[in-house]
Amino acid sequence: MMWDIVRRVLTICVTLFVVAAIIFAATEVLPGDVATAILGREAAPKRLAAIRQQLQLDRPASERYWQWLGGFVQGDWGQSLARPDQAIRPLVLERLRNTFWLSLLATCIGVPLAIILGVLAGLRRNQWLDSLVSVISLIGMSLPEFVIGSLLMLVFGVMLAILPAVTIVQADAPLTKLLPSMILPTLTLVIVMVAYILRMIRSSVIDIMQSEYVQMAYLKGVPQRLIIWRYIVPTALLPTINAVGLTVAWLIGGVVVVETVFNFPGIGRLMTSAVSDRDLPLVQALGLIGAFIYIMINVVADVATLWLTPRLRTQFWRPNEET
């Protein structure tokens, strides 16, 4: 067990290290460096050289990578290029707060809803409720986030005009002021999230209903209610914990489009503007933070599965082998 934990931590460190290398390589080694990003393609070579020296771009990439990563770990996330005199860390943390509440709200509504619908659909397999739930899930999986978001905005923001269509509140506004603007983005995220999770719960419920111990329980006359809540649901939820973890992690990517649709001031919106401005240090920081959150959520999901399933806590268990 101890060795398992040590190995886990080491794996996380190695993964983050490689993630940082990929992000750094993708944004820095490729043609068009930061200096041209600042000054434009037609800039005078002399000015380019001056900027390169000022930003220490004339040093080898590997050396800059170590410096960047070292600074990042110590809390120095660098300066934004597009926003003068703006340190990246406070900017990212402020936006991260907004995205955190948005994702938390979506998760707290979406996960229980998906569980309820998934269990109901699985129990009533091939009846009208199941068909309805399947169609809803197909639609949620198939419509792009910007379509769902725009339609919700059209209906609730413009036609009915009961909710703010776009966010006009400042990024650092208190949460209570931000809350009305969060409703439509949350709803969009919930629709997509529920579609994915409920599919998995449904198929897991169907599998378990066909298992021998459930059949046995029916045969010996255990009341239906007890079978559902004691035999089927707990077992069906286990394999979906990882799926929930993955879906929550998907939120980090999904918020990019949703926040852009609703102009919500979170890290997703920050990412798109950073990419448009070719603000490389900001893009790098956001990529690394996104990966860090993703890995942490998955670790939590793995540990939760491990904690709830004693049978997996043996020496034969290998994390991530099955995915």
């Binding site: 490689v18 198939s142 990412m271």
Partner: protein, 280 residues
């Protein structure tokens, strides 16, 4: 289990007919775009700006007077071409890496899988945007970005599938016969993962359509004036109340294509007996 043994006795539910039909309509429209579309997708006609749907312009016109129906048809060509090419490359390269890592193992396996883990750890859109930041926009960059973000998943799935076959007796027999590594990988192992590979292709094609449209919606997709559904939605979204046809028809197009691909890939998975429910 091959597709052929099933074809004779399948009973398709109505949803599959609908999905398959939609997919065929989309494919035909994309293939014969030049014959289907009444106008050029980029022709500007200042005399007919923001016109509602009419017999001469079925889906209306946008603020440059471009025919929206023609743009939707050609946009389908762009979306399908990019998605199918990206999905094919991801599946072939990912499948190759998955099979070789499973068979060769050791340091090679460890190295490749650590890189794959790292790529999976950068969530979807963020990885796409990091690549776009580095390489700029354009069709080739989108294909590369899609391949790099969808290939890691294929590697994991195919590696796991191939690992089930590596300890089997026919593999041992091939090794004892003294076959070359490439022969074992290609002739013995590869055919066994083809079913899963095909399902991966169908699934990933639908995800890539979604991602491509999302990327162009954000403004980092194909370069204008190439018609693209995501770009059309973001251009015309502000007029969703006054001139809804500009954004609604491309929305309808992308949604129906993804519904069709999802239904068809589900059905393929069911026919081949490949479990896709447990994966995202």
């Amino acid at each position: 289990m091959s597709l052929r043994t099933h074809i004779g006795n399948i009973r398709l539910p109505w949803a599959v007919w609908l999905g398959g039909g939609l997919l065929i309509v989309h494919l035909i429209m994309a293939l014969f775009a030049a014959y289907v579309a009444p106008y050029s997708p980029t022709a500007i006609d200042t005399a007919h700006i923001m016109e509602p749907p009419s017999p001469s312009h079925w889906f209306g016109t946008d603020r440059y007077g471009r025919d929206i129906f023609s743009r939707v048809v050609y946009g389908g060509q762009v979306a399908l071409l990019i998605s199918l090419v990206s999905a094919a490359i991801s599946v072939l390269v990912g499948g190759f890496l998955g099979v070789t890592t499973a068979y060769i193992g050791g340091v090679f396996d460890d190295t490749v899988m650590r890189i794959i883990d790292a790529m999976i750890a950068i969530p979807g859109v963020l990885l796409l945007l990091v690549i776009v930041t580095g390489l700029g926009s354009g069709t080739a960059v989108i294909v590369l970005a899609m391949v790099l973000s969808y290939l890691p998943g294929v590697v994991r799935v195919i590696r796991a599938t191939a690992l089930e076959y590596v300890p089997r007796e026919f593999m041992l027999a091939a090794r004892v016969r003294g076959e070359h590594v490439w022969h074992i990988v290609w002739v013995e192992l590869w055919p066994n993962v083809l079913d899963v590979l095909f399902v991966e292709f169908a699934m990933r094609a639908s995800w890539i359509v979604l991602s491509v449209s999302g990327l162009s919606f954000l403004g980092f997709g194909v370069n204008p004036p190439i018609p693209d559904w995501g770009l059309m939605v973001s251009e015309n979204r502000a007029m969703l109340v006054t001139a809804p046809w500009g954004a609604l028809f491309p929305m309808l197009a992308v949604s129906t294509l993804v519904v069709a691909l999802n239904v068809v890939s589900d059905e393929i998975a069911k026919l081949l007996g490949v479990d896709r429910g447990a994966r995202i």
